[in-house]
């Protein structure tokens, strides 16, 4: 039984570490901000979720402590990490970072242009 539990722990932690390494390779090798945000927000989230699940199994099976805080951490990371990726990509686009030359189409440009035209003109005191 303890061999089964240990192999489950080792399996989840190995998956998490592999996804962490894939994150680093993606961030170092992808050409622009948006592809890097894609690599960072997805695979880093899955990597840390898998590592936390392995630690949760370790404390549950080997020490008999059912850790609610680890489950809370997993749920919190699963909710907030994609939101952080979305906010960072949006800030990058609105601050004018150009995508790579390999990009085919840019549908967001027209929408942002139209929204900027409809905005109120800036006041004098600003």
């Amino acid at each position: 039984m303890t061999v089964l539990a240990n192999s489950l722990i080792v399996l989840t932690i190995v998956v998490g570490v592999i996804f962490t390494l894939v994150t680093v390779i993606g961030i170092l090798r992808f050409p622009d901000v948006y592809t890097r945000a894609h690599a960072a927000s997805k695979s880093a989230t899955l990597g840390v979720l898998s590592i936390l699940l392995g630690v949760f199994f370790h404390f549950w099976f080997n020490e008999g402590h059912f850790s609610i805080q680890l489950i809370l951490g997993i749920v919190f990371l699963f909710i907030t990490s994609p939101i952080g990726g979305h906010l960072m990509s949006r800030a990058a686009y609105l601050s004018g970072v150009k995508p790579t030359v390999l990009t085919v189409g840019d549908d967001l440009a027209e929408v942002v242009k139209k929204a900027r035209q409809n905005q109120l003109p800036p006041r004098e005191d600003e």
Partner: protein, 94 residues
């Protein structure tokens, strides 16, 4: 088992070093922001592995704390890059 956890910890810290290259040499500000957010996530992984190594469960509260603070930092940096201010002065006129 302990040796395996040590190897995983070393790999996670090496990937943090790889992200530090992107923080130092990133071509734009949002690149550095993305790398810093990923570093925060990897600090959480390293803390979880360290709590196995030290055989204590008091580090688990630190995990939740780091997650919350990292998310707040990411949101405020994004708002600063996007609008130029974090807490808006004039909320009534929009």
């Amino acid at each position: 088992m302990i040796t395996f956890i040590w190897i995983c910890l070393v790999l996670v810290i090496l990937s943090m070093m790889g992200l530090l290259y992107r923080v130092f040499c990133g071509p734009s500000i949002p690149d550095r922001l993305i790398a810093l957010d990923a570093i925060g996530v990897m600090i959480i992984s390293a803390t979880a592995l360290l709590s196995i190594l030290f055989a204590t469960r008091f580090f688990i509260e630190v995990i939740l704390l780091i997650a919350i603070i990292s998310f707040i930092g990411t949101v405020s940096f994004s708002k600063f890059i996007e609008k130029g201010e974090i807490i808006e002065r004039d909320r009534t006129s929009k």
